[in-house]
């Protein structure tokens, strides 16, 4: 028997075994296409509309265009007319009065950028058209520089404004466009920008450890043995979760210390970031428990656990941003589909603390949502485990 025929035989029996585990095969084949499709669908077919907040203090009539409009209103109109080829608007504008409200939205990442038109905007344009020295006026772009959506929204906004200004004044830049980073986001190094996401990814990997720890016991039959004792699903999963929470506490502390040693600086309190990471780890543990219920064997767990892992990383904004898919509004707050993922709140809260220097009071909602979702995931895990592995079958 030659090497080639032996190799062929090994290929053949591996294929036969794989084919006889159709679910495993299907999962491997469909994982990437399914996520690509989901991402495409949630992105509205690939055309993201960037939410831009506008505060317009310009009340004077514009010397061009007529209809009593101010120049800022004309510029805003121009911004709103920017569309993709399919007609989807590139910028979704929302007019606001208060800067504090706008900044809150930027911190919550429900908007990508804020544009503030000064009250001298029309006057500056009028002066420029007449060849007079314009009054000092500056359009301010405000945003969280750590938010990947900000840079796109800012570029599109400033390009549109410059185009408008050139058109109405025939001058390159009669009004300055300046940028004000939100919180401490302007002073973040690239490394510092990546650290929060990297740590989120690291604690999310706990899904694998937890899923395999549970399925190993199901597979070896020790769960069956314990089923005869007074043990409940809560005891079993609670014990395992506690063990992995302990590991998470240490792992997150070690990771933060390492990041600090390598030059990472947090704008907000580090203990708060640590707490968020620990809650995120707890949520990942909960997701691991749910995954274990459907896995049955450790080998299958290694495949199935990729689903929640990718879901929690790619659809929470931890790796790249996603638009909000609105579900309902409660107490004035819009709840989106991805808000059901604990990691969505973790990403927002960490960004607020690490980049924008927020404290506990500013991340109250995220902490509460994270805690509620941790409990919900754990409860779902216990309920499923009780039904699928602890009851007489």
């Amino acid at each position: 028997m030659t090497h080639l025929s032996r190799l062929w035989n090994i290929f053949r029996i591996t294929w036969l075994e794989q084919r006889r585990s159709p679910w495993d095969l299907l999962m491997v084949l469909l994982l990437a296409p399914a996520f690509l499709y989901m991402y495409w669908a949630f992105m509205g077919g690939g055309s993201t509309s960037y939410k831009v907040l506008v505060i317009n203090s310009d009340r004077d009539p514009c010397p061009v265009g007529g209809a009593g409009q101010s120049c800022a209103e004309q510029a805003i109109q121009r911004m709103s007319q920017l569309t993709y080829r399919g007609g989807t608007p590139i910028l979704r504008l929302t007019l606001l009065e208060e800067r504090s409200e706008a900044e809150k939205r930027l911190r919550d990442r429900t908007a990508a950028a804020l544009v503030i038109f000064p009250e001298e905007f029309s006057r500056a344009i009028s002066a420029a058209r007449l060849g007079q020295p314009p009054p000092e006026a500056s359009v301010v772009l405000v945003g969280d520089l750590a938010n990947p959506y900000y840079s796109v929204a800012a570029i599109m906004t400033s390009a549109t404004l410059e185009d408008y200004l050139r058109q109405v004044t025939n001058q390159p830049r009669p009004v300055q466009i300046s940028e004000q980073p939100l919180g401490g986001s302007g002073s973040r190094s690239e490394f510092e920008m990546y650290v929060p996401g990297l740590l989120i990814a690291a604690v999310t990997m706990m899904i694998f450890s937890v899923t395999i720890a549970v399925t190993r016991q199901i597979e070896s039959g020790t769960v069956r043995r314990l089923q005869l004792t007074r043990m409940t699903a809560f005891d079993f999963l609670g014990g395992i979760s506690l063990m992995y929470l302990w590991i998470a506490l240490l792992s997150v502390a070690l990771s933060i210390l390492t990041a600090q040693a390598l030059g990472f600086r947090s704008q907000g309190p580090l203990w708060l970031a640590w707490l968020i990471y620990v809650l995120t780890a707890l949520a990942s543990i909960g997701a691991g428990l749910i995954t274990a219920c459907f896995s049955g064997t450790a080998a299958r767990a290694a495949i199935i656990a990729n689903f929640p892992l990718m879901l929690l990383l790619f659809f929470s904004g931890a790796v790249f941003p996603l638009p909000q898919v609105r579900l309902f509004t409660i107490a004035g707050r819009t709840i989106g589909l991805f808000d059901l993922l604990p990691h969505t709140h973790a990403v927002t809260a960490l960004n607020k603390v690490l980049s924008l220097g927020s404290g506990v009071s500013e991340i109250g909602f995220e902490l509460a949502a994270l805690a509620v979702l941790c409990v919900a995931y754990f409860a779902a895990g216990v309920w499923l485990f009780q039904r699928m592995h602890m009851r007489a079958r």
Binding site: L228, R230, R391
Partner: protein, 316 residues
């Protein structure tokens, strides 16, 4: 009147189209060693899993000490110690650690669980291995540890699924003596499944034989053997070629022995005082032109009863 500790009433369980257990009704008396016999796939393990509350019957019910076993009743389940057919151990825990852990999960205080664990390790010849990981033990040692785990919480009913499988003769003797001694204490009952007839005959006070999920007989081994035919079993092998067809041997021996079967090339005869008939039988066969090979004389066994009831065809 003996107390009924465990009772099954019209127990039925299906797996898809397969009827694994069919209308099984039996009573196990407190203090007895009850043998549950059947070929592979007869429904033994399914039956005992229903008795332990690990499986839910499709029809019928199980009662322990008169109380109906519901799937999730921990009080009732804790009265049972279950030793499964395959070794179910925590391979990364030492022998003592897992006994202690298991005892505590049944609700024993830590110290008591540890003491019980140490006693059981001593009993099963594993005291020297108390700090060894279960995964590093030999197959026979793992088997003994598997049994110890079923006993650590002091159950009233011990359910053993093929307890002697995978044991060497010394370990088998040790386990057999322990089971007998354990069951000797007041109020303790043993239910064991096996297809090892020798094991059942030596240990069980009453035996139930099931096949295709249904109960065939339930009695003491002695009574079952009597039912098949009292006395000895004589096996005469017909050897060599050129003689008459073997089926023609039956009418030759019938006048000398009424209970006779032909199994392949072997005549199996059952009769009292068979030893006196060996010479007349061999002479009659030789006179009819048959060549007589090996001749075995043995006592009627439970295996004969078992084969008589369940047949000789292979299962699974």
């Amino acid at each position: 009147m003996p107390t009924i500790i465990l009772e099954t009433l019209h127990l039925t369980r299906r797996y898809g189209d397969l009827l694994a257990v069919r209308d099984l009704s039996l009573q196990v008396q407190e203090g007895e060693i009850f043998g549950f016999l059947g070929p592979n796939g007869a429904g033994k393990t399914t039956s005992i899993h229903m008795m332990c509350g690990l499986l839910r019957p499709d029809e019928g019910e199980v009662r322990i000490a008169g109380r109906r076993v519901q799937g999730g009743d921990p009080e009732l389940r804790a009265q049972i110690g279950m030793c499964p057919q395959t070794n179910i151990l925590w391979s990364k825990l030492t022998c003592l650690e897992q006994l202690e852990f298991s005892g505590q999960m049944y609700g024993l205080p830590g110290r008591l669980a540890r003491r019980r664990g140490q006693e059981l390790l001593e009993t099963f010849g594993l005291a020297e291995k108390r700090h060894k990981l279960a995964g590093s033990l030999s197959g026979g040692m793992q088997r003994r540890l598997n049994l110890a785990l079923a006993l650590v919480h002091g159950p009233r009913i011990l359910v053993l699924d093929e307890p002697e499988a995978g044991l060497d003769p010394q370990s088998r003797l040790l386990v057999r003596e322990y089971i007998r001694a354990w069951a000797g204490a007041e109020g303790r009952t043993v239910i064991l499944t096996t297809h090892n007839m020798d094991e059942a005959e030596r240990l069980a006070e009453r035996v139930a034989i099931i096949d295709h999920g249904a109960l065939l007989v339930l009695d003491t081994p002695e009574a079952l053997k009597r039912r098949l035919g009292e006395g000895d079993v004589l096996e005469i092998e017909l050897a060599g070629d050129g003689g008459p067809p073997t089926e023609q041997a039956l009418p030759v021996v019938k006048p000398l022995s009424q209970q006779v079967n032909l199994l392949g090339q072997t005549l199996v005869l059952r009769e009292r005082n068979m030893v006196e008939k060996i010479t007349p039988l061999t002479q009659a066969l030789q006179g009819a032109g048959f060549q007589v090979g090996a001749v075995h004389l043995r006592a009627n066994s439970l295996e004969d009863v078992f084969i008589g009831l369940t047949g000789r065809s292979l299962r699974e």
